[in-house]
């Protein structure tokens, strides 16, 4: 098992390197020119040349790439070109906002998706199954930012009007023990819900498809014939093999999760990584942009690596065949 993990980890290094080249090219070559963004308000005709030299943009792309990489790896991320704060500090602060949001969204989505998927797969064609199907279609078609705004409208205005409260309903929820947990839960509940809707909708369909496929398998018939309880048959024998395909889908959606975080933070005005990205884009702050993008890329690759490992743990065949069946 550990040999397998090590092999996978080693093999993701070239992917990481290529991705870093691609990310660098996208930001530098296809993104907006930071020098031009800075000089928008300037009357100095030398502004462009001066800022280019200042930012090192007048060097050739390979040289810039190697320089950026060296700085990233050695942790010298420099200062934000707008606020003069250390980029590592900015990103660290933003992460403390974003990680709980993303973490709870994934946990909530996984839990809900598995429950919904299993219920649907166990009772195909039932009213519950049909309801979940319709809800999944709705969830997937729902623009996250619109849902966020509607939820905010509901909780800051409509409910308050309806119930005749003097302040938005969220502040009316009592916090009798005065615990920080209640505060942060109150703060996170809506963003997590909004971020989770699309994930739950997609993942639950996968869980349903994978499990209902599994439930037709011979090993399930055997398990039933042995007289195991239905609960045990489904959750132990069915889930083990059907969870492999869910794990894969979850990892694939890591990129989509990052996009969702950006939108959710923007809608709820949370000062996390998404807000940081949007500000860096607006200001042409490449010192923030490039580390941000590299961290996101590393995150996606690590998620895929984790999925590979989880996959191998759930399905021993993967390790033995060294994952190269085709």
């Amino acid at each position: 098992m550990w040999k397998y993990v090590a092999r996978r980890a080693l093999a993701s290094i070239p992917v990481l390197l290529l991705a870093s080249v691609l990310i660098f090219l996208l930001v530098r070559e296809f993104g907006a020119d930071p020098a031009r963004q800075r000089c928008q308000a300037s009357r100095d005709p030398q502004c462009l040349t001066r800022v280019r030299a200042e930012l090192g943009l007048d060097r050739s792309l390979p040289v810039q790439y190697l320089d950026e990489m060296k700085n990233f790896v050695t942790g010298q991320w420099g200062e934000s070109q707008r606020s003069d704060r250390d980029v590592s500090e900015l990103i660290g602060d933003a992460m403390r906002e974003t990680v709980p949001l993303a973490f709870w969204a994934v946990v909530v989505s996984l839990g809900a998706a598995v429950l919904v998927g299993v219920t649907s797969a166990r009772h195909p064609g039932s009213v519950r199954d049909h309801t979940f199907t319709v809800l999944a279609f709705a969830g997937i078609a729902m623009p996250t930012f619109w849902l966020g705004l509607l939820v905010i409208q509901l909780f800051t205005y409509e409910l308050q009007q309806l119930l005749g409260l003097s302040q938005p309903i969220f502040y009316s929820i009592p916090n009798p023990i005065g615990s920080g947990w209640v505060d942060s839960a109150r703060e996170l509940a809506l963003p997590v819900f909004v971020l989770s809707v699309q994930l739950i909708a997609g993942w639950s369909r996968y869980q349903r498809a994978a499990l209902s496929d599994e439930l037709h398998g011979d090993h399930i018939r055997t398990a039933r014939a042995k007289g195991l309880s239905e609960r045990r048959v489904v959750w132990k024998h069915g889930m083990r093999s059907s969870s492999t395909s869910l794990v894969t889908v979850v990892a694939i959606d890591a990129g989509a999760l990052i996009g969702g975080v950006v939108v959710t933070e923007r809608v709820f005005s949370r000062p996390g990584m998404g807000t940081l990205l949007l500000a860096a884009l607006r200001d042409g702050d490449t010192n923030v942009l490039i580390p941000w993008m590299l961290i996101a890329g590393i995150g996606v690759i690590l998620a895929n690596l984790a999925a590979d490992v989880a996959y191998a743990a759930l399905d021993p065949r993967v390790r033995l065949t060294s994952g190269n069946p085709t």
Binding site: A19, L26, S245
Partner: protein, 340 residues
Amino acid sequence: MTTPGEPGGAVRRSGVGELPLTGTASLFDSGVRTGQDLARDPGGAPPPARFWRRYARKPLAVIGAVILLVLVTAAVFAPVIAPEDPTPQLTAEILADARQGPSWEHPIGTDKLGRDQLSRVLYGLRVSLAVGVGVAVLSVIAGVAIGAWAGWRGGWVDGLLMRFTDLFLVIPALVVLLVVANNPDPSFFGLFDLPPATEVPGMIVLLAALGWMPMARIVRGEFLSLRERDYVEAARAAGASSRRIVFTHLLPNTVGPIVVFATLAVGIAILNESVLSFLGAGVQYPAVSLGQMIADAEDTVGTDLAYLIVYPGLVLFVLVLAFNLVGDGLRDAIDPHSRD
């Protein structure tokens, strides 16, 4: 075929055939079986009558088709239906109409500049449809070209092209879209200019550049399995050229998955465009976009004027929903085994 450990490797190892990766395109697959089933029955689309009978059996698919028909008609005839110019000169007369509630004159009210909301929603719908369909067409062309090449040639060509595809799948799409869409005058390494994403053609190119990967993987998977068939072997033995085999024997048998992908890709593209516009990086004035309308009205949230965000979003939601329902219906009609 895959380098161990590369992202997405797990999908291929699972023996699920080729799951389309990322986004909505994959969400309605019956996951585990679709790829194989479509490959097992390479008949492409069944005879039309049987096909429509199968399609009509699913109420959701029929509802989706009807909604889509209505929305497309509304978009096509928007210049006729729309009561007013969506982007009028902002005269004092127009501005005086700002923030009117629904009335006979303005069925869903006016925005903060006094522009008729219904007209703007109709024109926004046009942009959404144009972007969605344009992106689907371009991604299908690019994805089929790359996937067919990889699947037909196999070997190192396949390896190289699929590594390239995987690379695009690793980078977080929305973030990259934001970075690139933010550039007012994009060029391809200074060699030639690219259309800016602030206009519809540029937005289409940009979204397609990051949307072709699932199509390439689907087509490659189909080709890998189809090219081993006896009838392909027979064609080869009869002396048919590669070009002939690919275009007359393999591609027609891949039409089913291509159509399904294209339908779902429209929905994804529409959502992506609206997000970019909402974040201020999408198509700009004078083009009207639903995402941009919602961003414009964001400051009404928390007041009684919030209906300004409701209608553009509702149209967006229903449009994407309709495409997804149709795509799902097509999948089942083309391949009856794909669902229980």
